[in-house]
């Protein structure tokens, strides 16, 4: 497994090129091209604003105004997380030709899916920043230092899960459908469109078992809530969990590696 990790480092130039290719290829032929990376989160934000200010105003605590922005702080990273997992579930099957015909570490493919998602996430950040400034949400300078750490934690967690999901999908195609539904459930089990404080105490304990709960809360703390970052304990816990998930995911992938070329 360590040797595999070392090979992966050797292939970083390939990963870099593949991410660039992924992004270029995705928007080739569309009129707006890269603008879509900005427009997609913008439209999403407008929809949520409409629902929570026009359709159901007052369904949330008043201190969380503007509520659409609060949700957006969680939805943006969630979109990265869920689309990365869904795409990596397909990555090995879509790249089957490569795995069967070219000798290169197959884990490159799910990792590229996750990294391409990261780039989209980063492209959505200016939209978020623009709205934060527009609504005059006070930004704490030290929070800006925590932000990359949170992103890194999410990256490690997502890659670990992506490796697991991608290798498993090759053997059981059902994982793709299962995953789509699981992610919907997961989304609602994460305090993104509601603050965790609104859940009853027993449910809160359950929600705390979900690693993304801590990530979402950390994002909200850093980006939305005023005051310095107070959720260091949460971040450390989820950081450790992410490393465990990553190692476990990589271990499973490594074990299934030799069967991939045959089963794809």
């Amino acid at each position: 497994m360590l040797a595999s990790l070392r090979t992966l480092v050797r292939y970083r130039a390939l990963i870099q090129s593949l991410v660039a290719r992924e992004l270029k290829a995705r928007y080739r032929g569309s009129a707006l091209g890269f603008v879509w990376s900005f427009v997609n989160p913008l439209l999403l934000l407008l929809i949520y604003t409409f629902v929570f200010t026009v359709v159901m105003p007052g369904a949330h605590p008043p201190e969380l105004e503007p509520f659409a922005l609060f949700m957006f702080c969680g939805i943006l990273p969630w979109t990265w997380f869920s689309s990365s997992l869904l795409e990596s579930a397909n990555a090995l099957i879509a790249g089957g030709n490569l795995i069967k015909k070219v000798l290169f570490p197959a884990e490159v493919l799910p990792i590229v899916s996750v990294l391409a998602g990261l780039v989209h996430f980063c492209l959505g950040l200016p939209i978020l920043a623009a709205f934060l400034i527009y609504y005059r949400v006070p930004l704490w300078p030290s929070d800006l230092l925590w932000f990359p750490l949170i992103v890194l934690t999410q990256l490690v967690l997502t890659i670990g899960l992506a490796l697991f999901v991608s290798a498993l999908t090759v053997h059981f195609r059902d994982v793709r459908d299962l995953l789509a539904n699981l992610l919907t459930l997961w989304f609602f089990a994460t305090p993104i469109i509601y603050p965790i404080t609104q859940a009853p105490g027993r449910v809160q304990r359950l929600l705390n078992l979900n690693p993304f709960t801590h990530l979402a809360i950390a994002y909200q703390e850093v980006l939305f809530r005023p005051g310095p970052f107070t959720q260091v304990n949460r971040l450390i816990a989820v950081g450790l969990a992410s490393i465990v998930v990553f190692l476990a995911g990589y271990f499973v992938f490594d074990r299934l590696r030799d069967t991939l070329a045959e089963e794809v």
Binding site: L14, K24, L98, K100, K101, V102, L103, F104, D258, E262
Partner: protein
């Protein structure tokens, strides 16, 4: 030194049993271990204990029917997949031409694809930049390199894939039936590139159905049949053994017509061995010897004579002498598909000349009973040295009735100490300020 060592390699593929279609993650989880379910219950053995060595710097051909395990062998050597048992050792950097342009993305330009493909094949960015012009030039795509690959014709696509793969500059090149790309001139370029590889002492492993390519290029050949190494050694001999087997299989398929008896296939030398692990077998060394005689013997060459200016059978000739090669032929049954062939080899085994009646445009009429074939060489324009003859009577498609491989030796004497093989009739003449006598 061996560039590739394959030892008793087994490869098992899982067959999709009916039960498997319903085995989902859920049932796998319910019935216990996921990993256990990944173990196949119905299997197909693609390779059943194959062993061989490829000496560094040689060109090695693998032939066999479809589904005989050739491509599986190549993939295992390339490292795409692991053998279930046995070991494979490859020395140096390997590049596999298995499917050209396998990693190309249709939406992005040829230039970007070259970089990504090169990175996948293990080159660094700098190495690709250095070879980029050469790659594009080789692929003849200078004008189109910045167009998206989806606009390429299939020939352009293949050429670019080939150009990248060949420029990886591997120590061991694995080629799987990819020479049928592009037009005639590109095929020649590819063959030239292989020849260059050989000159530079690189090892080439070729999997192909083109037996002609194996004869022309390979130093050694291996015949795989249903996952077992049938024979291995001199290419001509391996190919003929293979051709005879194919012909016999066709014959068996036609057996309902009952006009030919499969039992009439008498084979002498290329009796296939059952054991795939053939390397330590001393009997096989004998088999690997280049000389020999094989064929189905519906027709036989009973005697071969060379007659020079003296009018008597001889083995020693002067360079430039008139020589008749006489083949005494006996047909054991009436044959309508036949051709006679002659090949002259020098002591190093280089083919000096080879032809047959089919190449020369002869159409077979009938071959019955006994007969004499005379191949007349008006002037035996060879340099001083020892030469060997291949003579054969075979079907038009090459399946041998009787093939004599390097069995007949003769010597050519010449008072002059020229070098090379062929002595074209020639003369010198001079003009201007050059004066020379004695010519």
């Amino acid at each position: 030194m061996n560039a590739i060592e394959v030892r008793d390699v087994h490869k098992v593929y899982r067959r999709y049993a009916r039960r498997k279609q319903f085995a989902t993650l859920k049932s796998a989880l319910l019935s216990g271990s996921v990993l256990h379910d990944l173990r196949p219950d119905a299997v197909f053995e693609a390779l059943k204990g194959v062993s061989f060595d490829v000496t560094a710097g040689r060109t090695f051909g693998i032939i066999g029917r479809n589904g005989s395990g050739k491509s599986t062998m190549l993939k295992l050597i390339a490292g795409i997949g692991k053998p279930n048992a046995g070991s494979i050792r490859v020395a140096g950097r390997v590049s596999a031409l298995i499917e050209l342009g396998a990693g190309f993305h249709p939406e992005i330009s040829g230039r970007e694809n070259v970089y990504i493909n090169g990175l996948m094949l293990g080159l660094s960015r700098r190495e690709i930049a250095k070879r980029f012009d050469e790659i594009v030039h080789f692929a003849e795509l200078e004008e189109f390199i910045d167009a998206p690959v989806k606009t390429y014709s299939s020939g352009m696509y293949m050429r670019l894939g080939f150009a990248v793969a060949i420029n990886v500059d591997p120590d061991v090149l694995l080629v799987d039936e990819v020479l049928a790309v592009g037009d005639e001139s590109f095929t020649h370029k590819c063959l030239d590139k292989f020849a260059e590889f050989r000159r530079r002492g690189r090892t080439v492993l070729l999997v192909t159905h083109s037996l002609d390519l194996v004869t022309r290029f390979c130093d050694e050949a291996l015949w795989l049949d249903a996952g077992v190494a049938r024979t291995h050694g001199d290419p001509r001999r391996v190919i003929d053994a293979y051709l005879m087997d194919v012909a016999r299989a066709e014959n068996d398929a036609l057996a309902t017509t009952g006009n030919q008896d499969p039992g009439s296939w008498i084979r002498e030398a290329p009796e296939p061995t059952d054991s795939g692990s053939s390397i330590p077998d001393p009997a096989l060394d004998l088999f690997k010897a280049a000389e020999g005689r094989w064929g189905s013997r519906e027709a036989e060459i009973t005697a071969v004579e060379m007659i020079g200016a003296s009018g008597q059978p001889a083995h020693l000739f002067q360079s430039g002498e008139h020589v008749d090669i006489r083949l005494h032929v006996r047909a054991n049954q009436r044959i309508s598909d036949f051709a006679f062939g002659i090949g002259i080899f020098n002591a190093e085994g280089t083919c000096c000349y080879g032809t047959n009646t089919a190449i020369d445009g002869g159409a077979p009429g009938e071959l019955t009973g006994e007969g004499l074939v005379i191949f007349t060489i008006d002037a035996l324009n060879l340099v001083d040295g020892t030469y060997k003859l291949d003579v054969a009577v075979h079907r038009q498609d090459g399946v041998p009735y009787d093939y004599h491989r390097l069995l007949h030796t003769f010597r050519v004497k010449s008072p002059r100490k020229e070098v090379g093989i062929f002595r074209p009739p020639h003369r010198w003449s001079f003009s201007g300020g050059i004066r020379m006598s004695g010519l």
